[in-house]
């Protein structure tokens, strides 16, 4: 199978921020080189000030590189035509706050020279997709942060782009919003689009990204597939149904026989995100129902999930 083509090629990219007199204030990016392949979700990770957003803005031509090259779809980042195939969600949704959702999407649709019918159809689809039908006629200044992120994503997708650049897509979203956003990102990949996202919310990146790059102090420290980077080379893990004490003792004996050390053995736990989402879901279905109280030690909603589903 042939290697997927590169959508983004970054070579020795550096960016210095300078003061009024041209003196270097900070070197935000140091000789960064990486590629993003077609159809993958690529995550840019790093602490604050590591150069994630600077990289994103260099890709979009909002900043000019001090040195190095950036090519998107084989074109220089300064080329305006490349933007026909790109969607961009900024860190904050810097949209025009006096417009409502319909007007916002219509405006951005016009910037792509889309016909009126096309704009209308796309606007309907996206408003449904991001779930803001109820607020489509309200000006954006009245939107919550989560709703603003949603309309921000909708405007990024108005042109059905091949490459989507998402800057902190889940920042400020509640767990439901975060889950929806992650689902949408995965859906974009399923549709064959390439997604580049930068975030410092590691769990989110782990959930959706195929490959990641970790930046620190403007330098590339790690790059690779998430699964491979996280896989432990000197440990094995088995997941079984609940075991009796006897079975547990037998397994430990077998492990001892093969000179293997049991590091830990416990019931697996779910994630807090799962717990939260399930609680909300059941609460919507049964508004009067209460679940866990520490004193009574009653069942978790996650247990009820399996009962309810099964």
């Amino acid at each position: 199978m042939s290697e997927p083509e590169n959508v983004i090629e970054i070579r020795n990219l550096s960016k210095d921020y300078r003061d009024f007199w041209g003196r270097r204030k900070v070197q935000a990016l140091k000789s960064l080189s990486l590629d993003v392949k077609k159809g993958e979700i690529f995550g840019l990770l790093g602490p604050n000030g590591s150069g994630k957003t600077t990289t994103m803005k260099l890709l979009l031509g909002l900043l000019f590189p001090t040195a190095g090259d950036v090519k998107i779809f084989g074109e220089p980042s300064s080329n305006v035509e490349k933007n026909e195939r790109i969607g961009y969600l900024p860190e904050e949704s810097y949209l025009y706050r006096f417009l409502n959702a319909d007007e916002t999407l219509d405006f951005y649709g016009r910037l792509f020279n889309m016909s009126k019918a096309e704009r209308k159809q796309r606007c309907e689809e996206l408003i449904q997709q991001v779930g803001i039908q109820h607020a489509r006629k309200r000006p954006l200044k009245e939107y919550s942060k989560g709703m603003t992120r949603r309309i921000g994503l909708a405007q990024a997708l108005i042109n059905n782009p091949e490459l989507v650049l998402l800057d902190e897509p889940t920042s400020g979203l509640d767990p439901i919003g975060t889950r929806d956003m992650k689902d949408m990102i995965l859906k974009l990949r399923d549709e064959g689009k390439t997604v580049v996202m930068c975030s410092h919310l590691l769990a989110d990146v782990q959930d959706v990204c195929d490959r990641i790059a970790i930046l620190y102090g403007g330098e590339l420290k790690v790059v690779g597939k998430v699964d491979e980077l996280l896989k432990s080379k000197d440990q094995d893990q088995f997941l079984t149904s609940a075991l009796s004490p006897e079975a547990r003792a037998d397994i430990e004996a077998v492990l001892k026989k093969h000179d293997a050390k049991l590091i830990s053995s416990d019931r697996p736990t779910s994630t807090l995100e799962e717990l939260f989402l399930k609680t909300v879901q059941i609460s919507q279905e049964n508004p009067g129902q209460r679940f866990v109280s520490e004193e009574k030690g009653s069942d978790s909603p996650l247990d009820q999930k399996s009962e309810a589903k099964d």
């Binding site: 921020y17 979009l60 031509g61 909002l62 900043l63 000019f64 305006v80 006096f98 417009l99 042109n159």
Partner: protein, 541 residues
């Protein structure tokens, strides 16, 4: 009120524009080339030409749809951010202005002037500052709020952003101006007393190209007598002598005159008295029509100069199709036909004389004009509103351009400064310097004179030093000449005075140069704005 209306020479105007525009463009390109070489070394030359090519290509690929999208956005922004609140202030002004203007004068002719001046001034002062602020803050606010990030990351070219903003603000201003202009028109007409409504017209003057004079003995002169008036606008002729002023009018619209079946003239002469004379009697004046081809002289009835009246009717002299006159030197009454005897083709010559010995009549070129059939008041009024619109467009384009490279407050100050310099006109010193009529030479020669305590009229000995100073002054004056053209002359646009004085705004002398001045600034501003946005990092820290 006098209008020294001078026809606009289109060819000379275009050559002048090309000189200034070409000069500034060449200097800017050279500076950009030099900076590119210094910054990038030898490859800087390639980058310079690449950037230039890209700029040309970008302009050719401008998408009207995207420009329109940003225009609509600008309209929505202005209307939703309550910019149209300006209408409320205008309505308040109109509601109460009548109280203050009504009793100010008891002469209806002056009252009309007051109403028209007031309404046009109110429209100007309400519209222009609002549009200045909106245009100066539009793009800087977009950059500050980073809303522009979501626009320029779409396939939008920088000039489309600028054009969209420019057209958007122009649309907002045009709507504001239209509503105010139409309301103001009906308000003015409604305020004018019924008996003075006949004065509410637009007179269409035809001015002579050049006047000539004869002196007291009848000898030909270029000018009349200077009576000591510092302002040498008018020349004077002595009464009771052979002194005459000659006005020759060419290119008259004969069809319009034939249709009107009469020829009207209006004067605006000034009297200058060397003795009091009779208290209740004004100076006597006589016009004589001269046909140079047939040597026919037709003296018209003697009249008193209505020097303090603003009423056109009192200063109008009408020649009907058949004119009866007393032949000069005899008492024979003769008749002349306006079209067959008096007019020389489509020209006419008028001789003016003062009949009061010891007194003078002063006149300038525009003080006697042929009145073509009147147009409605709406003609001059709405042309004056158009003049305000042109000023507004000019302010918007300067404001939007300034907003492309500096922040909102600086852009506002910059635009305001340019408008103020342009509106106040350049100082006499500056005009003298750039036209070479200033005594004492240019800046370097003046500095030398100050250093050695020489007065401005003393000759400086020829030598290497004076040669160097002359060269340096020539360069400096060339630079100042260019700089003075970077400030638009707002006095071109002042068409309110025409409407207020009941005169139609002339196309060739006022409307055409105003439109061309606006265009002459719009085009370079768009280029400057494009490169400012293109070379600017949107996210620079």
């Amino acid at each position: 009120m006098s209008f020294d209306v001078v026809g606009f020479d289109l060819t000379e105007g275009i050559i002048h524009f090309l000189k200034v525009f070409g000069g500034v463009l060449a200097a800017a390109l050279f500076a950009a080339f030099l900076i590119s070489i210094l910054k990038n070394g030898v490859s800087g030359a390639g980058l310079f030409f690449k950037g230039l090519g890209r700029g040309c290509s970008d302009f050719l690929q401008t998408s009207p749809k995207r420009v329109w999208a940003i225009t609509v956005l600008t309209w929505r922004e202005a209307s939703r951010k309550k910019a149209l609140f300006v209408f409320v202030i205008f309505a308040l002004l109109l509601m109460f202005a009548g109280w203050f203007l009504k009793g100010s004068v008891d002469r209806p002719d002056l009252q009309i002037k007051n109403y028209i001046s007031f309404i046009l001034r109110a429209i100007t002062w309400l519209t222009l500052p609002v549009m200045l602020l909106l245009s100066c803050w539009g793009i800087p606010t977009d950059i500050k709020n980073r809303s522009l990030h979501t626009v320029v990351t779409k396939p939008v070219r920088r000039q489309e952003v600028m054009l969209g903003r420019f057209f958007g603000f122009t649309l907002v201003g045009s709507v504001v101006l239209s509503v105010m202009g139409i309301t103001g028109y009906y308000w003015t007409v409604g305020q004018v007393p019924q008996e003075a409504r006949a004065e509410l017209v637009s007179r269409v003057p035809v001015y002579c190209n050049k006047t000539s004079f004869t002196n007291n003995q009848g000898g030909k002169e270029d000018t009349g007598i200077n009576v000591g008036d510092i302002w040498q606008f008018r020349s004077y002729i002595a009464g009771g002598t052979k002194a005459r002023a000659l006005y020759k009018f060419d290119d008259l619209d004969l069809d319009a005159i034939r249709q009107d079946k009469r020829l009207r003239m209006e004067y605006n002469f000034e009297a200058f008295r060397t003795h009091k004379g009779e208290m209740d009697k004004r100076l006597l004046c006589q016009l004589t029509i001269v046909n140079n081809k047939s040597d026919l002289r037709v003296p018209l009835p003697i009249f008193e100069i209505q020097e303090f009246s603003n009423r056109a009717q009192e200063k109008t002299i009408t020649l009907e199709e058949s004119v009866s006159y007393n032949e000069e030197g005899t008492s024979t009454v003769k008749t002349a036909n306006l079209f067959d005897d008096i007019l020389e083709g489509n020209s006419i010559t008028v001789e003016v004389q003062c009949l009061d010995p010891g007194q003078f009549i002063g006149m300038a070129r525009p003080d006697l004009f042929i009145k073509m059939p009147d147009r409605s008041f709406a003609s001059s009024y709405f042309k004056a509103v158009f003049g305000i619109w042109l000023q507004m467009v000019l302010i918007i384009v300067i404001g939007v351009t300034a907003g492309c490279f500096v922040k909102g407050p600086v852009a506002t100050l910059l635009t305001f400064g340019i408008v103020m310099v342009g509106a106040s006109g350049l100082s006499d010193l500056m005009r003298g310097l750039v036209t070479g009529t200033q005594n004492g030479g240019g800046p370097f020669e003046s500095a030398y004179r100050m250093l050695f305590h020489m007065n401005p009229t003393t000759e400086i000995d020829a030598g290497p030093l004076s040669a160097v100073m002359t060269v340096l002054d020539t360069i400096m004056i060339g630079f100042l000449w260019t700089i003075q053209h970077l400030f638009p002359r707002f006095d071109f646009f002042n068409m309110s005075q025409y409407a207020a004085n009941g005169i139609d705004v002339p196309w060739n002398a006022t409307l055409l140069p105003s439109i061309l001045v606006t265009l002459a600034f719009v085009i370079p501003c768009l280029i400057l704005g494009y490169f400012s946005l293109q070379l600017r990092e949107m996210e620079a820290k």
